[in-house]
């Protein structure tokens, strides 16, 4: 069946859809964005990239009200003058050129916005707008067109902006180019006929080399010095020795009037090293690996003072305060419910997508999202002391166990280097004592592990890019090494092995007719509720092309959805929602009928009796009860195969906060899976990993929600799995796209492949070192040889590591 797709967002259009200007839309939200854009002559949005839009969420006007509180507003305004204000907002939905176009033309939609500039890699927009414009209005405008701003803490991102690498690289590049030009005559002995000119250019070369050693190369000296102070050795130690020897020798030659020495190689060497560092530092700027709990919790909350509602910052909320939480808002502190029944969605916390019911007087943990009508709560614990954040603080205090052990390779390298230098020194002292110093210096110069130092950043940098294309985003290079050392893999179950975006759906009740299916899907498609989306997925293949039209639509928070299709009222939602008369009856009968189920059974067929604790949505058309959709969490596709494959190489563990309902399935499907633990609290998970590590295991933990945050942090490698990589991932070493979990084995193999690439690079660099040493020991390392050998080795290593890493598709 061919489906029309939405002109705005590209989703399937169900039924007749929403139509305007001969274009079909999947929902009213997309249609209104289109209307807004076309009425402002921004139709180009759709020409740049087709179906580039994102489906806007139904925005609650109150959602951004906190931004207008003066203290909070100040936090998000970078700069303000008499007429305008500037603010930089993180808009995770930015994804293509059409987005840039639309955002940068925002002033045409709302003249209060003066200008907007997008930073694409960071997914940020810098907006300059009228000082009088409330920040909440700006946020609402952005949400309305589908770019919901994220007001979490972005501290870490700001630090990353450092441009020092580029400055250092620029200085080194400038010196390298200039010195090469000036020393060119030396290579061909032309200089000898004009000693004055040659000396003049040597002084010039010295002049430009000073900032290179003092500024550009300073990081290497600092790092080497730090390592030596802690009595360990890293690769920067031999590099620093090499650089210093090279520089000292060259300066000596210049001032002795013996030409320019190796000053050209020196500048080139630092330049190549810095390119490596810069390449390494170009990581995923838009992703955040360091989020703590504050990024999940709202910035402000509505406090009830007497009968007055005031908005205050989270840290001003005290125990005993009454707060108000609205539909879709996240509860920032542990609290007790004062209002009637609501549902709490803990999917950020546990990965469990099915909301939990809470009654008046129930204790509610922070981190849950409220579904239902506006509710009053009384605070039991402050935000930073709540159940979840306490765990977080605890881990931070303890500090993650560091992988100890010095860089062995560097130690061997330095040892071998010193031995050779000493041996050659003794030999030359006996043979020709006048040349001893020169030979030792040239050995130190040529043995400098430049190629070795370049192979790592380039190999790992390229492998990181390859992995990024496959949906695994690493925080930095070191994570590759950590992945390679893994012996045990620990999986969280809910939200990791199972999915929290779609549920397994069963319809219980009389079979639906074709028309009814079409009606249902048309109705649920207008809702963004996760359960509605699951129903859409479930029924999608059963629909037939039709011309049904949704004439009226209403979503009642926490209850259900209701719509008018061809003069028929279709309702999906809770039992109470189905028919309030049923409810009235239930209440009147309450003394006689203790449970809803038993009173319910008198209204519908016996086979449709609901089971306690199941998650279901009830369907009725024109008031006639037809049956219910029952939701169950579902394993991610392909996950069983992944577990089987991984079990061959690693010890697997599954930890779950749930009851052991899936234990048998897992054990039957993956017999190698021996360590299955259920009903684990966040603290239990953390302790379990620590116990494994005490047994010298290297643990890779894969989890999602906030309740895994402690475990992810303590594990040697913590991989957060995320449906949307720009949102809601706890602090971790890497972020994995949920849809790419099935290729986890491939990801680990790719990381391992980097070891092979590194080995090849090491062999090459050692060969270069041996060739160089042969020149140095025999006393033939002329500046010309050095000038050829050093860039050659550097460039060939970069080429080898890049080509090999990219060969791995």
């Amino acid at each position: 069946m061919s489906q029309k797709s939405c002109y705005h967002c590209g989703d399937d259009v169900i039924g007749k859809g929403f139509n305007l200007d001969d274009k079909a839309f999947c929902c009213n939200g997309c249609k209104s964005v289109y209307q807004l854009l076309s009425s402002n002559d921004l139709g180009t949005f759709y020409n740049l990239e087709s179906q580039a839009g994102t489906r806007p969420k139904e925005a609650d006007k109150h959602k951004y009200a906190f931004l207008d509180v003066a203290d909070i507003r100040k936090k998000y305004i970078d700069f303000e003058d008499a007429t305008s204000a500037r603010s930089t907002l993180f808009l995770p939905q930015i994804h293509c050129s059409s987005c840039i176009y639309l955002l940068e033309n925002l002033h045409r939609i709302d003249p209060q916005v003066k200008s907007c500039q997008v930073n694409f890699p960071k997914r940020e927009a810098t907006l300059i707008f009228d000082k009088e414009m409330p920040l909440s209005e700006l946020a609402n405008l952005l949400s309305k067109i589908g770019y919901e701003p994220n007001f979490g803490s972005r501290e870490e991102q700001k630090k990353k902006q450092s441009r020092t690498y580029l400055y250092k690289l620029g200085v080194a590049g400038f010196a390298f180019g200039s010195i090469m030009l000036w020393t060119f005559p030396e290579y061909f002995d032309i200089a000898k006929s004009n000693p004055e000119i040659s000396q003049f250019s040597a002084y010039l070369a010295f002049l430009v080399s000073v900032p290179v050693i003092l500024y550009s190369a300073s990081d290497y000296f600092i790092s080497a010095f730090k390592a030596l102070r802690y009595r360990s050795i890293n690769l920067d130690v031999p590099i620093s020795i090499g650089i210093l020897a090279l520089y000292a020798q060259s300066v000596f030659k210049i001032f002795a009037g013996e030409g320019t020495g190796y000053i050209d190689s020196f500048a080139g060497f630092v330049f190549f090293l810095l390119i490596g560092k810069w390449f390494q530092s170009k990581t995923y700027q838009s992703l955040s690996f360091e989020r703590d709990y504050t990024a999940y919790f709202p910035v402000a909350v509505t406090k009830l003072e007497g009968s007055k509602e005031i908005i205050v910052e989270i840290d001003q909320v005290k125990i005993g305060d009454k707060i108000i939480i609205r539909n879709q808002e996240v509860l920032p502190c542990d609290a007790i419910l004062l209002s009637d029944e609501i549902k709490i969605d803990y999917s950020f916390v546990t990965g469990e997508s099915i909301p939990i019911s809470k009654k008046k007087g129930d204790f509610i943990y922070a981190g849950g999202k409220l579904l239902g009508k506006k509710s009053e709560l009384v605070v039991e614990k402050e935000s930073n002391r709540s159940h979840l954040t306490q765990l977080w603080n605890e881990v931070n205090k303890e500090e993650k166990k560091k992988d100890t052990g010095k860089d062995k390779l560097s130690t061997y390298f330095l040892f071998a280097l010193l031995t050779i230098a000493l041996g050659a020194g003794i030999y030359w002292y006996i043979y020709d004592s006048a040349r001893t110093t020169e030979i030792i210096v040239s050995i130190l110069i040529v043995a400098c592990p430049c190629a070795l130092a370049l192979s790592k950043p380039f190999t790992y940098g390229n492998i990181m890019r390859v992995l990024g294309r496959k949906g695994l985003y690493l925080k930095n290079n070191e994570v590759i090494e950590k992945i390679n050392a893994t012996t045990d893999i620990v999986f969280d179950k809910t939200g990791t092995l199972t999915t929290n975006s779609s549920n397994h759906v069963d319809f219980i009740g009389a079979p639906l007719t074709e028309e009814q299916i079409n009606q249902v899907i048309l109705l649920v498609n207008s809702s963004t509720h996760p359960l509605s989306k699951s129903i859409v997925r479930h029924l999608k293949d059963m629909t037939t092309p039709n011309n049904l039209e949704l004439t009226e639509f209403q979503e009642i928070e926490g209850k259900g959805i209701e719509g008018e299709i061809m003069n028929q009222t279709v309702k999906i939602g809770t039992l109470e929602f189905w028919n309030s008369r049923v409810l009235e009856h239930w209440f009147s009968q309450r003394s006689k009928a203790p449970t809803l189920q038993s009173s319910f059974s008198s209204f519908v067929h016996s086979d449709a009796q609901p089971i306690a604790n199941e998650t279901a949505s009830h369907l009725s058309i024109n008031g006639n009860y037809l049956g219910r959709f029952v939701f169950q969490s579902e394993f991610r596709p392909g996950i069983i195969e992944v577990l089987r494959e991984l079990a061959k190489k690693f010890t697997l563990h599954v930890l779950s906060g749930d009851k052991d309902k899936d234990k048998e399935i897992l054990q039957k499907e993956v017999p190698e899976l021996k360590h299955l633990l259920f009903e684990q609290s966040p603290k239990d998970k953390l302790d379990y990993i620590k116990k494994l590590q005490d047994g010298q295991r290297k643990v890779l933990m894969i989890g999602d929600g906030l309740n895994d945050a402690g475990a992810l942090e303590v594990a040697n490698t913590g991989i957060a799995i995320s449906e949307d990589i720009f949102r809601f991932s706890p602090k971790s070493d890497a972020i994995l796209e949920a849809s790419k979990l099935y290729s986890l084995k491939n990801h680990i193999e790719t990381a391992k492949f980097s070891q092979s690439v590194l080995k090849i690079c090491y062999i090459f660099s050692i060969v270069y070192n041996i060739v160089g040493l042969a020149f140095a020991i025999s006393g033939n390392l002329t500046p010309l040889v050095a000038a050829i050998l050093m860039p050659l080795s550097s460039i060939s290593i970069v080429l080898i590591s890049t080509l090999l890493a990219l060969s791995r598709k």
């Binding site: 002559d41 940068e104 400055y167 620029g170 003049f200 010039l204």
Partner: protein, 63 residues
């Protein structure tokens, strides 16, 4: 051969100018985003057109 001195100095000065240019560009954030500018350059024509349209129609804009 005296001119060589001059050329050496001139080459040095030119290189310094380029280095300062690079610093300026870095400071301005030109290397922060390597994607958006490549797209942005294609928008310009249309924007001018719209402005013209606005001035021509003088408020009686037709959509």
């Amino acid at each position: 051969m005296g001119v060589i001195y001059l050329m050496l100095v001139v080459s040095f000065i030119i290189a310094i100018i380029f280095l300062l240019g690079f610093f300026w560009a870095t400071k301005n954030g030109q290397f922060d985003d390597d994607y958006a500018p490549s797209v942005r350059i294609l928008f310009e024509d249309e924007e001018i057109q719209v402005k013209n349209k606005k001035t021509e129609s003088n408020g009686n804009r037709k959509v």
